[in-house]
């Protein structure tokens, strides 16, 4: 199979770029800008020359206008020559729905100005139309667009998938010349995979192959992203535009004692620090990672500094209504806010005005993300992006110091595009069948053109066809089938009158996450009181008796009913689960490995405190006070136990209420996730009891009644790892949850059907049942396999975990088993914050019998 070549784009000279611009466009450009930006020099002539191109540039690098400049230039030329036809010339796709402002600035405004210029010069030109089509576009607007095609269509991936299935639209989409994919770095996921198939279908509808232009923030590896953009067998050039601005970054600790994170005195210090930073800048943007923390910061800033921030502070996170978010974005642009606090939602895209400082509260967990966030400051040309990390505990301190170092060295963590997603494939096969009758081979050939499906096997493809054709249903229930497939003629077509409606109303890949109301059930005096809400993902992990914190108060979980969780208030027990975990970003592998390496470097020098602190200062370029804190932290661990590093995996064993094995595994959370479940399974299998596993970025633990460290460690090998892991995840909540998402994407559960939409709670109940039915049918049901793949490859990082196991077997990483009387300093955060899951091995009947014996024992003993 031809893969296509990917090469570096040579930047044009100023004269070359000026030369390709139409006089009108040229005049307009220089009336607005002093000169071309490096991004424009790097990319515009290539787009003009109809080359597929991936443009990677830091935020504020004028990417969007770069892409539009070449296209506007072409269209203006046509419009002046009166050769503009009623068809779509260019499609611009962005993952953001809130596009209107960006489009106004980069498209409508320039068009208006060019048109005005032409008028002034007495040049007659045709009107160039821009059409915006998103999920919010009204039916009337859509109909208008279908009658008179926009020359430039601005849309989202989901809306584009709908458009190519709409006969009215297909007519004017047959000769699209440019496709721009913006923010492609945010689409290295199922949404992006979905888009690649949409683009292949778009090509197939047309008579010419459009040029593909991808716009990305700093990302790695570029070659992979380029192939993802253009598909199999097509060439692509890469314009990798480096930041010409200097990064101004620094690290601050909020108090002298980082261990007592939540003490009021320290809180006060942190808010004083925040206030000081905000007051000495014009507009500050604070990233907090979680929605909870976002709300908290806004609340406390107001509390600690009464009146100072009234009307000048805004929160922005994904569970806020869209309208509310727009309001904040508008205020930011208008310069009305002094400070905006966000979880992660302001990371992407749209220009948010004159921010001159970005504060990262807690680690952003990856280099690319850190760069993206800090790039939000100094969006204006020539301003240096300024960012400050504020760390809240000692793990955070080391992590942020390492991140800063990697940022200045330009070492970006790598992303991986999911491949062969069978749920996304199901959706598209259905969509294709709605359009016309296909030959199976022809359909498969089209699918394989997408980079994400280049290796799709015949078996996988036909298993999806079987699923959609209802081969898995009982005979008298053929209502279930969505397509028909005739194995004799190899033809595939749609089935059912509602096919198109079902497709249109259930398209997309973003799983719906519900929010569950928390209601007090006891004490009776407060019964029915609503105290807040938690994520559905969070709720799924709660078991009866768990204690969690919500809005600063502790509650004990009792049970759920529908979309409500019933809890007991007035709890004195310690929390068993942190409420923000489900939102936590996973630490990148590269950053974790660098942390481990750093620990090693410090342990080598640990004996001589002064020179070691000096080394740390120099290594990170941080002040002596912070370097000392890092030294102390690692010294404490060295004194108490053993310091884990890149060559030593320390496994600590201790007994409290239960028996614990703590693995200080520094390989990023996705690897930890995989390893923890394998070792958890080993422990479960050895004693035929369920085992609890806890995971965070710095390691994982397994806990049970009784563990035998040596046997557990010896049980997992690189040979049996995959097999063990497959067994281990089979009964976990994680798989259940992913299966629900996959079932919804593959249209087994329709979110919208016959005019009714289904709540997430309903979807969840149904999917649990579906999963058990599917299992009865076949362990290899395609959608179940997809859920497993998602857990293995997207949620976890199984290939890298396997590499780690091989390194252990080869002796490159040594396991050190240590007995400790209680949790070691490095284990404290893991113990307190880790997310836990259960490795279920003991079957229901066995558990029932055991519980019965125990119960009878208790009763007889008590009697």
């Amino acid at each position: 199979m031809k893969t296509g070549t990917v090469s570096c784009a040579t930047p044009a000279t100023r004269a070359e770029l000026t030369g390709v611009l139409h006089p009108l466009v040229r005049e307009w450009f220089f009336s607005r800008f002093a000169d071309f930006s490096p991004t424009q020099l790097a990319a515009v002539t290539h787009i003009h020359g109809r080359k597929n191109i991936l443009v990677s540039a830091p935020t504020g690098g004028t990417k969007t206008l770069t892409a539009f400049l070449a296209i506007l230039n072409y269209l203006v030329d046509l419009a002046v020559r009166k050769e503009l036809e009623d068809k779509i010339y260019a499609v611009y796709i962005s993952p953001l729905r809130a596009l209107s402002n960006d489009i106004f600035v980069n498209l409508e405004q320039p068009l208006k100005e060019i048109f005005g210029l032409a008028k002034k010069q007495g040049v007659e030109m045709q009107e160039i139309r821009v059409g915006l089509r998103t999920g919010d576009t009204t039916a009337a607007q859509r109909a208008k667009m279908a009658r008179r095609a926009p020359h430039i269509l601005v849309t989202t991936p989901e809306s584009l998938a709908i458009i190519i299935t709409t006969p009215k639209f297909v007519g004017c989409a047959r000769a699209i010349e440019f496709v721009i994919v913006d923010e492609i770095h945010a689409m290295a996921n199922k949404r992006g995979v979905h888009l690649t198939l949409t683009l292949e279908r778009l090509h197939e509808l047309g008579v010419i192959e459009p040029v593909r232009v991808g716009l990305s923030a700093t990302i790695s590896p570029l070659e992979e992203v380029a192939r993802f953009l253009v598909g199999t067998g097509r060439d692509c050039v890469i314009a990798d535009v480096k930041l010409d601005k200097k990064l101004d970054i620094g690290l601050l600790a909020s108090g002298s004692n980082l261990i007592e994170g939540d003490a009021p005195a320290q809180q006060r210090k942190m808010y004083d620090l925040l206030d000081e930073l905000i007051q000495s800048h014009k507009t500050t943007l604070i990233f907090t990672n979680t929605r909870n923390a976002t709300e908290k910061i806004v609340h406390y800033l107001d509390l600690h500094f009464p009146g100072r921030y009234t009307g000048l502070i805004g929160a922005h996170h994904s569970s806020m209504s869209r309208q509310k978010r727009f309001e904040i974005e508008d205020k930011l642009r208008g310069g009305e806010l002094r400070v905006a606090v966000t979880s992660t939602s302001l990371e992407l895209g749209i220009d948010i005005g004159s921010i001159d400082l970005v504060i990262l509260l807690r680690s952003p967990k990856g280099v690319a993300r850190a760069l993206q966030r800090i790039g939000r400051a100094g969006h204006q040309l020539h301003a240096n992006p300024k960012g400050r990390f504020i760390v809240t505990d000692r793990d955070d301190l080391v992590e942020c110091a390492v991140l800063m170092k990697l940022m200045t060295e330009g070492k970006i963590d790598s992303i991986r595009v999911p491949t062969n997603c069978l749920d996304v494939l199901s959706q598209h096969v259905f969509g294709m069948a709605i359009g016309r009758v296909w030959q199976a081979d022809e359909m498969l050939a089209l699918i394989r053109k997408s980079w994400a499906y280049r290796n799709l096997s015949n078996e996988d493809f036909y298993s999806v066809i079987s699923y959609l054709a209802g081969d898995y249903a009982l005979e008298h229930r053929n209502v279930y089938a969505k397509i028909w497939h005739d194995p004799r003629t190899k033809e595939i077509g749609k089935r059912g009158k509602l096919a198109r409606i079902i497709y249109m109303t259930n398209i997309g890949t973003i799983p719906e996450e519900g929010s569950i109301g928390v209601v007090i059930n006891s004490p009776a005096a407060r019964r029915g009181e609503i105290v807040g809400s938690v994520d559905e993902a969070f709720l799924e992990r709660l078991k009866r008796g768990d204690v969690f914190v919500l809005g600063g108060t502790k509650y004990q979980f009792l049970f759920t009913r529908g979309m409500k969780a019933y809890v007991q208030a007035d709890v004195s027990k310690q929390p068993t689960v942190p409420s923000w975990f489900s939102e936590m970003l996973p630490l990148a592998f590269e950053v974790a490995v660098e942390i481990a390496r750093f620990r090693g470097l410090v342990s080598e020098r640990i004996k001589d405190a002064d020179s070691c602190v000096e080394f740390i200062e120099e290594h990170f370029g941080i002040g002596a006070d912070l370097a000392e804190k890092i030294y102390e932290y690692i010294k404490e661990q060295a004194d108490f136990s053993v310091v884990p590093d890149d060559k030593t995996l320390v496994v600590e064993e201790f007994k409290a209420e239960r028996h614990y094995l703590f693995f200080h595994a520094m390989y990023g959370r996705r690897v930890n996730d995989a390893l923890s479940r394998a070792y958890g399974y080993a422990a479960a299998a050895l004693r035929y009891r369920d085992i609890e596993v806890g995971i965070n970025d710095n390691g994982f633990f397994i806990a049970g009644d009784k563990l035998e460290a040596r046997r557990v460690l010896a049980y997992v090998t690189s040979k049996n790892f995959i097999e063990i892991l497959r067994e281990a995840i089979e009964k976990t909540d994680v798989l259940k949850r992913r299966f629900r998402h996959c079932a919804s994407r593959s249209l087994m559960i329709l979110r919208n059907y016959k005019g009714r939409s289904k709540s997430v709670g309903k979807q969840q109940v149904h999917s649990g049942f579906l999963l058990s039915e599917v299992r009865k049918l076949s362990g290899e049901f395609p959608i179940l396999r997809e859920a497993r793949r998602e857990v293995f490859e997207d949620l976890m990082d199984v290939p890298r975990a396997l590499e780690i196991l091989k390194l252990i077997e080869r002796g490159n990483i040594k396991i050190k088993n240590v007995n400790v009387p209680l949790v070691s300093p490095f284990g404290l955060n893991l113990m307190a914050q880790s997310h836990s899951d259960l490795i279920s091995l003991e079957d229901r009947a066995h558990f029932l019998k055991r519980m019965h014996d125990l119960q009878r024992g208790v009763v007889e003993h008590g009697a």
Binding site: G545, K762, E773, L854, V858
Partner: protein, 241 residues
């Protein structure tokens, strides 16, 4: 006259007469799911219910009377595609295995009458046999307070109990037996396989009478047909190791 717990059914024997009572079958549930946009591959709830019934009959053999304790049908104001087919298939199977079918009306059984009538089966509000009275459990009737009636056999509640050992928790369908106003109430678990039922520790039973769950006895049958007596609900310890 004696009763025993067989799978999820209650078997009553007197002399040579055998009566089997099962509860809450919710036929047509798969169709209801499809109507809601959930496409269940394979045999679905119906397939599982029939499998469970067959397992019970393998243990008890043929019986004289089968009592369906209500909620035979799932959908309220409508007859869904497949629903009639499922109910008739069920009745045909039960007629093979028994001499007579008695159906008491459940709250879901609004339109059940005409369908079961096709096999000559009548629907009643309650049915008395010896000292036993069979009814759904959602409604009260004055006639069930007759002196000679000592036991009420009901469905409706879908009773189940969640057992925990501190790490693992699992829910099991169970029989509940308790006393109220001098009578014994036997709550039969549902045959409905979609869910494991309602945890009696955290949810109310929803019966027409104020039966004190805490003072009920819990019985669970396991796969090989063994009966496990868990004693009174109030004595069940959670989180024991």
């Amino acid at each position: 006259m004696a009763h025993e717990f067989i799978g999820r059914g209650l078997l009553i024997t007197e002399g040579k007469t055998k009566i089997l009572a099962v509860a809450d079958l919710h036929m047509g549930y798969d169709g209801a799911l499809r109507k809601a946009g959930v496409f269940v591959p394979g045999g679905g709830v119906f397939g599982q219910t029939m499998t469970d019934l067959k397992e019970i009959f393998e243990m008890v053999g043929k019986v004289d009377i089968v009592v369906l304790l209500g909620d035979v049908k799932h959908a309220f104001g409508t007859v869904l595609p497949d629903e009639r087919w499922e109910i008739l298939s069920l009745l045909d199977y039960l007629l093979e295995k028994s001499g007579e079918i008695v159906v008491v009306k459940g709250n879901h059984d609004v339109l059940l009458g005409p369908i079961v009538h096709e096999r000559g089966v009548k629907i009643r509000d309650y049915w008395v046999w010896g000292s036993y009275c069979f009814l759904h459990g959602d409604r009260d009737f004055s006639a069930i307070y007759q002196r000679r009636i000592k036991k009420w056999v009901v469905g409706h509640a879908h009773p189940a109990i969640e057992l925990m050992d501190g790490t693992k928790h699992e829910r099991y369908k169970c029989f509940l037996c308790g006393f109220l106003w001098g009578r014994e109430i036997i709550v039969v678990p549902s045959l409905f396989s979609k869910s494991e039922g309602v945890d009696v520790l955290t949810r109310e039973l929803g019966l027409a009478w104020p039966l004190d769950v805490m003072r009920c006895c819990v019985y669970i049958t396991n796969k090989n047909g063994d009966l496990l007596n868990f004693g009174l609900v109030k004595n069940i310890k959670q989180g024991i190791k």
